[in-house]
């Protein structure tokens, strides 16, 4: 940490805070946070990465799924301070400005999203699945995404989207 490094603050209420350093989408970020601050809220409010959505607060819906050292976690029930010294990937870190991640392309190609609210979490869970299993069967995809709820699409096209990405990556 250097003196010139910018520090993101999420609270100016006088409550005790702790300084944490998190690598978010490959970029080192330093933040002063209350110990009770949830990771989802650090990402959304402190770092203005609003692609991570909060749905249920109970670790069920998965809209807030991010990758934590590469593994999918639900950022609504994880404290920001727990991410100190770790790497977090959000939907904003999927793909590059010039090239989409195949998972993103697959969701478009197979109509795997409608309202878009569950989509960032769903895509990150899919990314993690493909990272550990590049050629998943339909059942493996369904099981791999079973921590994420979607109310619009009915999943069939989401499963196809993940297969689409797997096939593209196999080429």
């Amino acid at each position: 940490m250097t003196a010139t490094e910018p520090v993101d603050t999420t609270s100016d209420t006088g409550a005790p805070t702790r300084r944490i350093t998190v690598t978010v989408n490959g970029e080192r970020r330093v933040a002063e946070v209350e110990p009770r601050l949830l990771l989802a809220h650090l990402l959304r409010q402190g770092l203005a990465l609003t692609g991570t959505h909060v749905g249920c607060d109970t670790t069920n819906c998965g809209a807030c799924t991010v990758l934590y050292d590469g593994a999918p976690v639900k950022s609504c029930t994880m404290l920001a301070v727990q991410a100190d010294g770790h790497e977090v990937t959000t939907v904003e870190g999927l793909g590059t400005p010039s090239e989409l991640d195949p998972v993103q392309e697959g969701f478009v190609a197979e109509h795997g999203l409608q309202c878009g609210f569950c989509t960032p979490g769903m895509m990150l869970a899919a990314r993690a699945l493909l990272n550990r299993n590049p050629d998943p069967s339909e059942d493996e995809i369904r099981w791999g995404l079973s921590g994420n709820l979607c109310r619009c699409t009915g999943y069939q096209n989401i499963v196809k989207a993940v297969r689409w990405a797997a096939e593209k990556e196999a080429q």
């Binding site: 609270s11 100016d12 209420t13 006088g14 209350e34 009770r36 601050l37 959304r44 409010q45 990465l49 609003t50 692609g51 991570t52 959505h53 909060v54 749905g55 249920c56 607060d57 109970t58 069920n60 819906c61 809209a63 959000t90 939907v91 904003e92 999927l94 793909g95 989409l100 993103q104 969701f107 478009v108 190609a109 109509h111 999203l113 409608q114 309202c115 878009g116 609210f117 569950c118 989509t119 960032p120 895509m123 995809i141 369904r142 099981w143 995404l145 079973s146 921590g147 994420n148 709820l149 979607c150 109310r151 619009c152 699409t153 009915g154 999943y155 069939q156 096209n157 989401i158 499963v159």
Partner: protein, 803 residues
């Protein structure tokens, strides 16, 4: 002139599908932002100086408020405002009207009437502080006996829930009746067989993944109120806010940005919205309120919670002579259905619209209980889901009572193609359809006869296989304005189209997408009418300052009504473009012919001008006397509802040892008229079938004897994941609507409406050897096991059994 993606040359017509017109499964425009996390939902809105609001909710279902002490909350650093009902009452905002001409408490002043009711709210610099301060408010309650079902509500000595209403002596919210009682009684007197069925359609919650929320921004310098809102119907909200808050309508701007699912839940005006607006006025700062999931599930608009007591009069050879039933709705503490004024129980009388039933009679009664208010059109057209579920469960019971095959019984009673337009026993006029063909496509796809053989073989081995059929038509696309209004405002819809000099266009509509893909499909309608490539058209909606007045998106009404308005405004543009073409081609208008994307001279087809050239001429080279510009608007009042038809067939296997049932196959045949974007239509159908599966299998809300909500978070309120959800095989039949400009019908909800009966009928078919007649949804393993092992029906009506 700027080149277009597929430029018209002026010498030949365009390929409609290639340029993204009707029938093109073009990728969705919306996806580009959503897959990058660049959507803009209400929760993403941040304004300078914004404060945060949290709501304190009642832990009790029914209690008198003795005192509220807010002093400890005020003392917390960062707290800016603690608002109670008493303070709201000073602004005449402690109560508000509902969409069903009842009143609803914004913040409780006298009593709390359901668990989760709004009691107070706190505004603070930070949402965590606001939550802390809510916990610091001390409310003293005097508990009253709670009522959790209609039977308790009418029992002698039942406490009066709505003692706030003058002249309200009991717990009855409304009574309603439709049909021909004498004619129906006469038909029953002639019946060979009378089939009876009683059941409960459980309370369910639309539960979009995004909860409700608002960012209210009252500017006390200009007097303008801007509200970012999770709303399916921003224009109705603007009118409602003008009436409730007594603010001038021209100084109210409602913006529905991206909406994270609605399914009917985001139609009403909720107390949280009113509180956020009032708090912004009181603090003169922007106030953000984002509901938590428990708040959403425990206080906002639920669907269903209806009881059926039915009879069907039949001849021995399988003809329906008459139907009659009594429906009881559990409204919760406030009668807050979002539905057209005239119909107190929505369009429940659309049941049996697809069958040739000579006569029928329905009575209905709504009851107040100590449960959350609502009765919204949860992925359906105003209680049509209950109507079609009742219908299809009654059909199955009747066929069983006659000893007749399920498919054959339907075949004998479905309205035939040559009977349209067909007047139903309850007064609707269905527009078109090929019902028998749809049924046959479904039966062929599932391999009906083969399955019956397989089922019989399996039964010999003790395996329980079942097949369930659900056939239905539903009324989608309210109005017409003669019969349909909400709060007196007629149910038309609107579109405004501007074609710029280079031939690119912006379409503004009064509907509001929540995932249906309007930005994609409404452009396709313009493409169909004008030949402008869909990629050259941007669709805007959801901002009341910048879109024409519309009634919003629910009840599958966008394509039938706003879609029709879009086609009509494009035709107005084309009419003006024709005059411009005649001018450019130096011929009289009568000699100009149209084909997609171009006008040409009759008899000299190669002499033509493109729509883009006409657009440029509208700004640069118009004939003498013509008003410049190429824009117009249309308000469309539909002559009738559109009537899509669907046939859903499920096959299941029930495990007699556990009561668990698995879907073996599911076939859907949808006839929603002309399909604008087949990919999106199928996406809507698959989504609806998943909700149907959820409701039949696991998803419901109930209450225990004390009025505690069971299902107030996703740990108790079960939604299916990719793992449980079955796969679907989809088929189509196309019968264009004869009165819709492009022949389209509503589709977004058919599958959620017609789907549940297919699953339930399949499980009941599997259990036929046990003699069980009904298990209430959801068909939980313990209910199925109990029925299979006792041969008894299973009721799911509240109170929830805790033993």
């Amino acid at each position: 002139m700027t080149a277009t993606a597929e430029p018209a040359t002026g010498s030949q017509a365009l390929d409609e599908v290639k340029i993204g017109g009707l029938g093109s499964s073009r990728p969705r425009v919306e996806d580009a932002r959503f897959i990058r996390g660049r959507g803009n939902y209400v929760e993403d809105v941040t304004l300078p100086g914004m404060l945060h609001m949290e709501i304190l909710r009642s832990p009790l279902a029914h209690a008198r408020i003795k005192s509220i002490d807010t002093s400890a909350a005020w003392a917390i650093p960062g707290v800016k405002l603690v608002l109670t009902g008493e303070m709201a009452a000073q602004r005449n905002l402690a109560w508000m009207p509902t969409l069903s001409y009842d009143t609803q408490a914004v913040l409780a002043t006298d009593k709390v009437r359901f668990q989760g009711q709004e009691v107070a709210c706190v505004v603070a610099e930070d949402p965590y502080i606001a939550k802390d301060a809510c916990d610091a408010i001390v409310v003293e309650y005097e508990a009253l006996p709670p009522i959790v079902n209609p039977e308790q509500a009418v029992a002698p000595g039942a406490p009066l829930i709505r003692d706030d209403k003058a002249g309200q002596a009991d717990n009855v919210a409304y009574q309603w009746e439709v049909g021909d009682k004498d004619g129906t009684d006469a038909a029953f007197a002639q019946a060979d067989v009378v089939s009876k069925l009683r059941l409960h359609y459980p309370r369910s919650h639309p539960s979009p993944i995004e909860n409700c929320g608002a960012v209210a921004d009252f500017n006390n310098a200009t007097g303008k109120l801007t509200v970012y809102l999770t709303s399916q119907a921003p224009h109705i909200v603007r009118a409602a806010v003008a009436l409730i808050a007594e603010l001038p309508e021209h100084l109210i701007r409602i913006i529905s940005p991206d909406v994270g699912g609605g399914f009917g839940n985001k139609v009403p005006v909720y107390p949280g919205y009113v509180c956020a607006i009032l708090c912004s006025i009181l603090t003169a700062k922007p106030v953000k309120w984002i509901e938590d999931n428990t708040g959403n599930l425990s206080s906002t608009g639920f669907g269903r919670d209806m009881y059926l007591d039915s009879e069907m009069a039949l001849t021995n050879d399988g003809k329906i002579l008459a139907v009659r039933y009594h429906a009881t709705t559990d409204q919760g503490a406030f009668y807050a259905d979002a539905q057209p004024t005239k119909f107190k129980i929505g369009l429940v009388h659309s049941s049996f619209a697809c069958y040739d039933v000579p006569v029928g009679h329905i009575t209905a009664q709504g009851m107040y209980t100590n449960k959350a208010p609502g009765g919204v059109a949860y992925r359906c057209s105003f209680r049509v889901t209950e109507a079609m579920f009742f219908q299809e469960r009654m059909m199955q019971a009747a066929a069983d009572d006659l000893g007749m095959d399920q498919a054959e019984f339907r075949r004998r009673n479905l309205v035939r193609d040559d009977q349209f337009p067909y007047r139903t026993p309850f007064g609707f006029l269905t527009d078109s359809g090929q019902y028998l063909k749809c049924l046959q496509v479904g039966l062929d796809a599932i391999g009906y006869d083969d399955f019956l053989v397989e089922q019989a073989e399996a039964r010999k081995q003790g395996r329980l296989l079942g097949i369930g059929i659900s056939t239905m038509t539903e009324p989608l696309g309210a109005g017409n304005s003669r019969e349909y209004d909400i709060l007196g405002i007629k149910m038309f819809d609107s579109a405004e189209l501007r074609v710029h000099p280079t031939g690119k266009a912006v379409l503004k509509i009064g509907a509001q997408t929540q995932g249906q893909g309007h930005e994609t499909t409404f452009a396709q309608i313009v493409t169909h009418e004008l030949g402008i490539p869909a990629t050259d058209i941007v669709v805007e909606h959801g901002d009341t300052d910048h879109t024409p007045f519309g009634m919003g998106t629910y009840a599958s009404r966008s394509t039938p009504v706003a879609g029709a308005a879009t086609a009509m405004v494009a035709r107005k543009i084309r009419a003006k473009a024709r005059k411009l073409a005649a001018h450019l081609l130096e011929v009289s208008e009568e000699d100009v012919e149209w084909e997609l994307g171009r006008f040409f001279v009759r008899g000299a087809e190669s002499r033509g001008v493109t729509i883009q050239e006409c657009a440029m001429a509208a700004y640069s080279n118009m004939p003498d006397g013509m008003e410049p510009g190429l824009e117009n608007n249309a308000y469309y009042d539909p002559p009738n509802l559109t009537w899509p038809f669907a046939c859903y067939i499920a096959t299941v296997e029930v495990d007699p040892e556990t009561g668990v049932w698995d879907v073996l196959r599911f076939v859907g045949v949808d006839d929603c008229g002309v399909r604008i974007n087949p990919m999106i239509v199928e996406g809507q159908i698959m989504g609806g079938l998943t909700e149907a599966y959820a409701i039949s299998n696991m998803q419901f809300q109930t209450y225990d004897v004390d009025g505690n909500l069971v299902g107030a978070n996703y740990m108790d309120y079960l939604l299916p994941t990719a793992w449980e959800t079955p796969g679907f095989e989809l088929h189509e039949v196309v019968t264009p609507s004869p009165h819709h400009p492009i022949g389209a019908k509503g589709v977004g909800e058919c599958a959620a409406v017609g789907g549940p009966a297919a699953y339930v009928n399949a499980v009941m078919d599997a259990l036929r050897p046990t003699g069980v007649r009904n298990i209430d949804m959801p068909l939980l393993p313990d209910r199925v096991w109990h029925a299979a092992h006792t041969g008894q029906d299973v009721s799911g009506a509240p109170p929830f059994r805790t033993e």
